[in-house]
């Protein structure tokens, strides 16, 4: 045997290496490795499988109570399959249900107020959080200062009724609602109007964007099919050619903010036909609005007004609709009254005033009874923010800091007060909360019909349950909350009943008309009118937290972080503004900056249409810092009956 020299060693090594490589290649490992590499670098994600099921439930988000079918894969809800709704609630529900920024446990503030960082909060147990909140409330009640406890609710529902009751039982009258169609018409008319759109044959809408989120979207969509079938006439008065205005049979392109005057003009024509409503004092005001005056103020022709009045009075079952806007509604109380007067004059069967009656009056403890006398009853939310006083405030799903024209002032007051927020997502208002309670989506809460289809998300609980358990810990309140749980309450709650007559307040009407006429006068300082428009799903801001809703935003409104306002072409020419230019808008209330212009003739001359819903400071990373929130510069005049800022029509200038 020869000695193995260097050359031989190389041969052995070479043989081994080549052999090893061939073995590796022939085993197929490189190809599998390549495939693995491709999958790994692409982060290929395959959703887990499971048994497919369809769960039936009822959407309790509104009165319509839509039946829902939820497609489940194992324990995951993957799709809401229901065709009877056109409402963003139900379609968005999964996005909220599985939102990555959903609050998963009660949170206590440890950081500075007004920050959006989650690090400003720490998780606590329900007992601890409820205990801390009730301790603060008990202290106030014990000092007979229960009137400094306030509550703000979003929806007009049972959970809000619970908050009303809790606040009242503590000895305060400060239970308010965010302005909505319901809350505004209740404040103005003393009850909410139930419209029977399916059976009406002529609908006269005063700026109510009926098909753009107004009222209950799913029933509006159902009604729309009925109108198409029956040939119901839809007449829309608006300053912007909105979708509803385009789908309407007739569009009355009025000057921005003159809906009330148009209503007066039509009432005037109806009165000529011997119809009357609202009493002598009211009718005296109506008499002043002859068609030529109305025509001059609204920008319509006398003929148009007379024709509309004619159509309206001829109709068998006409209905006039108040409540300008889509999801975010803002109309003056006078407008609600005037439009309701039209219905009465025309003898409409399709608009019935109903009064909600959820729960009875609570039992007041001695302390509460003493402090409730101290409590100042204000007309509505904005009135309360401006003139009210509070030390503890409970926010039930609402976001007044973002949505109210007085949001900044509320934030300032909240900075000094003890704030409790019940919400599934950290919104602009919750930025100031001391305690946050995670609430549920309708998919997770039990209903009168049965158990919820899905288990509650982590440590969330329904707002109603949250308020009931809180009430159990507050002194002298327990007696008013005999229910074991929210479901227990649902089973015993009452229904709405018919309301009495409406108080047609002519004084308010005269004031409002004067204000509008003043606003209409061309002013050198603020030559333009600004009115809000809303986008599908974004609405007045609630949709911004959901990525799939963001995908529906159209190019000419918001794209790549730039918010566009719509300006009439001719007007833009007069003001030297070109397409896509960056402008600032100023009103007497303030200034917002950096919006782009989009020139389009769908907007009335001398008008800027600004989208609502943008410019959140918080409300998840999807909504945060996108565009601007115009509420701050919108008109702040507080309506005497509804107590909310009538922000619809604002005089502005481009700066």
């Amino acid at each position: 045997m020869k000695k193995i020299d260097r050359k031989d060693f190389l041969k052995i090594g070479g043989g081994a290496i080549v052999g090893g490589l061939s073995g590796y290649v022939f085993s197929g490992a490189p190809f599998l490795g390549m495939q693995w590499l491709i999958e790994w670098t692409q982060d290929q994600y395959v959703p887990a499988g499971g048994k497919e099921e369809y769960l039936k439930t009822i959407c309790e988000a509104c009165r319509e109570k839509c039946e829902m079918s939820i497609r489940m894969i194992g324990d995951r809800a993957v799709k809401i399959e229901t065709s009877n709704s056109g409402c963003p609630f139900s379609q968005n529900a999964l996005q909220l249900l599985y939102h990555p920024e959903r609050i998963d446990a009660p949170l206590k503030r440890v950081g500075r107020k007004g920050t959006v960082k989650f690090s400003a909060f720490e998780k606590v147990s329900w007992d601890e959080a409820l205990g801390a909140v009730s301790k603060n409330m008990n202290k106030l009640i014990g000092e007979k200062r229960g009137h400094l406890i306030a509550g703000i609710s979003k929806h007009d529902n049972l959970a809000s009724a619970l908050l009303d009751r809790l606040v009242k039982a503590c000895g305060s009258t400060a239970a308010y609602y965010e302005p909505s169609l319901n809350s505004l018409s209740q404040a103005a008319l003393g009850g909410s109007v139930e419209y029977d759109f399916n059976n009406a044959d002529c609908i006269l809408s005063f700026g109510a964007r009926l098909l753009e989120g107004w009222g209950v979207p799913c029933s509006m969509n159902k009604a729309f099919i009925e109108w198409k079938k029956k040939g119901t006439r839809l007449i829309q008065a608006d300053a912007v050619r909105t979708r509803t205005a385009s789908l309407a049979d007739q569009w009355l392109p009025i000057k921005p903010g003159t809906e009330l005057i148009l209503a007066m003009g039509i009432a005037n024509r109806l009165s000529k036909r011997g119809r009357a409503a609202g009493g002598a004092e009211w009718m005296a005001v109506v008499e002043k609005y002859a068609p030529d005056k109305v025509a001059a103020l609204t920008g319509l022709s006398v003929k148009q007004i007379e024709e509309v009045a004619e159509t309206f009075s001829r109709a068998r079952n006409p209905v006039a609709v108040a409540g300008r806007g889509g999801k975010g509604v803002s109309s003056s109380s006078a407008e609600f009254l005037a439009v309701h007067a039209l219905n009465t004059m025309a003898g409409s069967q399709a608009a019935v005033l109903k009064k909600g009656q959820w729960l009875g009056e609570p039992v007041l403890s001695a302390n509460a009874a003493a402090s409730i006398k101290e409590s100042k009853k204000l007309a509505g939310l904005d009135d309360f923010i401006k003139n009210g006083n509070f030390e503890i405030i409970i926010i039930n799903e609402a976001d007044p800091v973002y949505k109210s024209a007085y949001g900044a002032e509320l934030a300032e007051k909240m900075d000094r007060a003890f704030v409790v927020s019940i919400t599934p997502l950290l919104n602009d208002t919750a930025m100031y909360a001391d305690y946050m309670f995670p609430s549920l989506t309708f998919l997770e809460n039990d209903t009168s019909a049965g158990r919820a289809p899905l288990k509650p998300y982590l440590k969330s609980a329904h707002a109603g349950d949250c308020l009931i358990s809180l009430a159990q810990k507050v002194d002298g309140v327990k007696a008013s909350f005999p229910w074991a749980s929210y479901v227990d309450l649902i089973k015993t709650s009452g229904a709405s009943v018919g309301a009495g007559g409406v108080n047609y307040n002519a004084r308010v009407l005269i004031d409002q008309l004067a204000l509008i006429e003043k606003n209409l006068k061309p002013s050198d300082e603020f030559p333009l009118s600004m009115i809000p428009v809303e986008l599908t799903f974004v609405g007045d801001g609630d949709g911004m937290a959901f990525p799939y809703a963001l995908k529906t935003i159209d190019q000419k409104t918001f794209s790549q972080g730039k918010l566009c306002v719509e300006i009439n072409r001719k007007t833009a020419g007069q003001h030297g503004v070109s397409e896509g230019e960056r402008i600032d808008i100023a009103s007497s209330w303030g200034e917002i900056g950096s919006v782009r212009t989009h020139l389009t003739d769908t907007v009335a001359p001398d008008t800027i249409a600004i989208p609502l819903g943008f410019g959140h400071m918080a409300y998840t990373k999807y909504a945060k810092n996108k565009g601007v929130n115009p509420k701050g510069i919108m008109a702040h005049d507080i309506d005497p009956l509804t107590g909310t800022a009538n922000w619809w029509h604002t005089r502005v200038k481009i700066s």
Binding site: L37, I38, T41, Q42, Q555
Partner: protein, 425 residues
Amino acid sequence: MGELIKRAIDTIKAEFNSYSTGVKIALGVMFFLTAGFVIFGIQILFWGLGYTDMSNLYPFGQWIIGDLGLVSLGGGAFTTGFALYIFRNDKLEPIINSTVLIGFLCYLFTFIFLVFDIGQPLRAWFGYTYPNWGEHLMPTSMLTEVIWCLTLYFMILCVEIVPVALKHKVLDAIPALHYVGHYLHRIMWILAAAGTFLSFFHQGSLGGGMWDIMYGKAVWFRAHHIYFFVVIIGATAGGTAFMTLCAYLAGKVMKKEVVPAETFHSIAKISGILFVAFFIARLVDVVLMATRWVPLFDRSYISLQGGLYGLWLLVLEFLLLAVVIVMLLPKKNREQEKRFLIGIIAGVAAITTDKLITVLNGSSVPNFPWRDYIWYWPTIQEWFIMLGGLSVMAMIYMWCAKYLPLFPHAEKHAHHEGKSQAVAE
């Protein structure tokens, strides 16, 4: 180890210091761009194309322009090779090595840009394994055709570049390699012919076919057989101008006559004639577009020329073409150095503009009547990858010009004239 690094640094220092100030500055800029190329290249490959300004509305951007430009300018390699080996225009002999190298680099970087441009670089090989051959082996997807033709022609260029590399004094000393190089050189005409054939196809496919088969788009659709050849002529014209320009610049930088003047004049003449052909072809193309193809969409040609990249680019292209023809065609013009230079620069610019029109204007045209023209401005990532790639190309070319017998003419002269030239080098 430390010693080794020190020696390497010293070598690089010495190398860097051997250049003149102007070249040093240029090298610095190119190194900077290359660094950006590497950094942003990693970003794009690992985190995706989201960092570019391309979008769903504007799917093709700067890198596609780069691909188109590089391929058509690199097309000078086949034109020159064809003229030299098939037509036996021996005046072109001194420039051919440089031409082959540029062609090689252009194609190499076309691949590199393509890899950046596709969303799934790891799946790039799908083009070979699942090609979209249509019926009768006529590729329905021009990109399939392009991938195959480019690959094959790139292989040919690799073979063509081997003899040049083998001429390096170290390699040439090995007898075996010397013979390989020699015989490869002898069969070069076969490669030139095959290259011409392949190049014809992919020039037409990438520059023309790729666009005109998109029959849904008014701005791109036209009769295949016309535009296909328009682009080929463009590539032959622009390519020759680019080859000339590169060699000219190399000469200026190296401060010596790398290519005899008569070579320049000969190739400029070829280029000039081809540019006349291209001018006519392009004119026919535009007229046909305006009168025949665009009206089939119920649109007008002029309405497609709006936006940021509209009519002015088209006008610019024809102006540049006119400049080339005036400067290169008459003998007295092209034999004057300044006019010759203006001519070839305008030629390269004209072809680049042609590609800009194809991509920039083509993508920015709105698809719906209510949409506006789209605005595209490449992001910093796109710029660095594009310019960084080009600087790498330039640096490789510089290195080759210095160490490989890229310009045999200059070497010969160096032997004749003695040491002074070598020092300048």
